[in-house]
Amino acid sequence: MTVTVEEGARGTRTAGGRPAPAPPRGTRTSYALFLLPGALAFLAVVIVPFLMNTGVSLTDWQGVGAPRWTGLANYRRLLEDGEFWASFRHSLFMVVAMAAVPTLAGLVLAAALFDFVGKHFGDRLAAFLRACFYLPQVLPIAVAGIVWSWILAPEGGSLNALLEAVGLSSWQQDWLGDPDIALYSVMGVMVWVQLGFPLVIFMAGLQRVDPQLYEAAELDGAGWWRRFRHVTLPQIRPEIAVVLTWCTIAALKVFGAVYVLTKGGPGGATDVPSYFSFTTFFEKTQVGYGAAISTVLTVIILVLALAGLRLQTRAEDAEEGGRA
């Protein structure tokens, strides 16, 4: 059953640019009618709220009464707000933890599981290990947060208990409560959460690589590293582009983990734009200012998404060019 889907998904990339003959004119309009419910729903749930949010970002509004037009005042305030800059600086750390590290580790793990474990110890073991790495991905982020905030608790937490058991008591920390460490602890949790996603995508990508390429490389005496570098990497460039884009966007959107693990603390040490806008909206009820924060976040994400789409198309073109 799933095979059909995979076939289909694979076909697009080659067939994407070639338009099938269009249906005659009259039927086109009748097809457009099928878009109507979707269009209305999107208007109500996405477009109108988004425009409202952008509009509100140009006002001073507490959520009740009439918003007072202030032009770009909120954005000027953002530029001078240390909390805002700090939250975006922490976003960069999240990009490292959720995009850079998982992509690199995912590449090595995928190649190791596919090219090494699969070959020498069987596909079942490779699939089982892959499942272990993927498990955290299906966990609700709120639950992952509960699990880890308990493991990382300063007293009675498993990590500190473990350190004590192996005689490393001096390494014990208040992992989420120490402003110098909290951000790194959250990063560690996010690596754990995110790792399975690139791994699964890369392993799926490797399955469509022609095995003859590996055999040829092996015959030429290429070791594991050279096969990885010259066969694996170039072959799954489209997947790498996709994973980097998606993970970077996910990193910029991080909310649940911060809410559950640290609430942005201690002292704002783990604040991120998403959490910052949430508290500005609902705790400080400075709706105009919160809207400005989320608008900036949106612009950054949309630019990244467009750049990512281009990167992906280029990688696919390059790959097809290389194959032809």
Binding site: T2, A41, V243, L297
Partner: protein
């Protein structure tokens, strides 16, 4: 022999890494069945000396966990079905109908899909209060139906774009209208892809946090994720309770994972490389 000697260290390293990924689940399971006394005496790393289920029972009753499960199932299930229907309708127009401006329509759905919910959350909160939908499960169902359908439309459009046109044309010649072609031919043939979408939508909605947190404030309407996240945020739980919460939160995810493992891992590849 030499190769075998070199092989096993790598395998062992990989297994250790995999174990590290799973250990948090095991630690939670082990500690959720310890009594508070045992926990405070032996700490989190000891194996349980017996099965103590009162912690789980207490927690279940205190947060009315059954109710939260029902809410989560109801919301995620409705969203999965409704979003799949909406995706099919959209993708039918784009992928098979090839309506004019379809590239723009698709680009719009892609962008809607990456849009951060922070940019929608306040207006959605405000508008739902105006129309009386605030703090109802229906509001969350409506919002996520649309958000998930953005991804579904995007994926299905490319799948339907390669639908064999001969079949459709043959049906049209036999006098079937566009509506009949959709339900009698396109939907049945696309069942595998729709299955993947249903699973994705269900799990994604189950795991959602920000919007349900804002929209569902009364205890009776909260989902599992929101209830657990809020409890954790209040910092009122002792160790046994935290572990009970974590275990009860983890269990449904494990069940989904086991049931949908194949669909999920393969399906994810579908979603990523269009």
């Amino acid at each position: 022999m030499t190769t075998a000697l070199r092989r096993y260290p790598v395998l062992i390293a990989l297994c250790l890494a995999a174990l590290f990924m799973v250990v948090p689940f095991l630690v939670v399971a082990v500690n959720a069945v310890k009594s508070p006394a045992e926990y405070s005496r032996h700490g989190p790393l000891s194996l349980p000396r017996g099965l103590y289920l009162d912690g789980l029972k207490d927690f279940w009753q205190r947060v009315d966990f059954g109710r939260k499960l029902v809410n989560s199932v109801l919301i995620s299930g409705s969203v999965a079905v409704l979003a799949a229907v909406l995706s099919v309708l959209n993708a039918y127009a784009v992928g098979i109908g090839r309506i004019r401006g379809r590239t723009w329509v698709l680009a719009f759905f892609v962008l809607a899909n990456v849009l951060p919910q922070e940019a929608l959350v306040y207006p959605v909160y405000y508008l739902s209060k105006q129309v009386g939908l605030y703090d109802t499960r229906l509001s969350v169902i409506i919002v996520f139906t649309v958000i998930q359908a953005a991804f579904g439309t995007y994926l299905l459009s490319s799948v339907l774009g390669r639908f064999p046109r001969e079949i459709i044309e043959a049906a049209r010649i036999d006098g079937a209208n566009a509506w009949q072609v959709l339900w009698r031919i396109v939907v049945p043939v696309s069942r595998p892809t729709l299955g993947v979408l249903l699973v994705f939508f269900f799990i994604w909605t189950w795991n959602e946090f920000l919007l349900p947190l804002v929209m569902l404030i009364s205890n009776d309407n909260q989902t599992v994720s929101v209830a657990l996240g809020v409890l954790q945020g209040q910092r009122l739980m002792d160790a046994t309770m935290t572990n009970a919460a974590a275990l009860l939160g983890v269990l449904p995810a494990i069940v989904f994972f086991l049931v949908f493992q194949r669909t999920l891992t393969r399906g994810i590849a579908v979603g990523a490389v269009k």
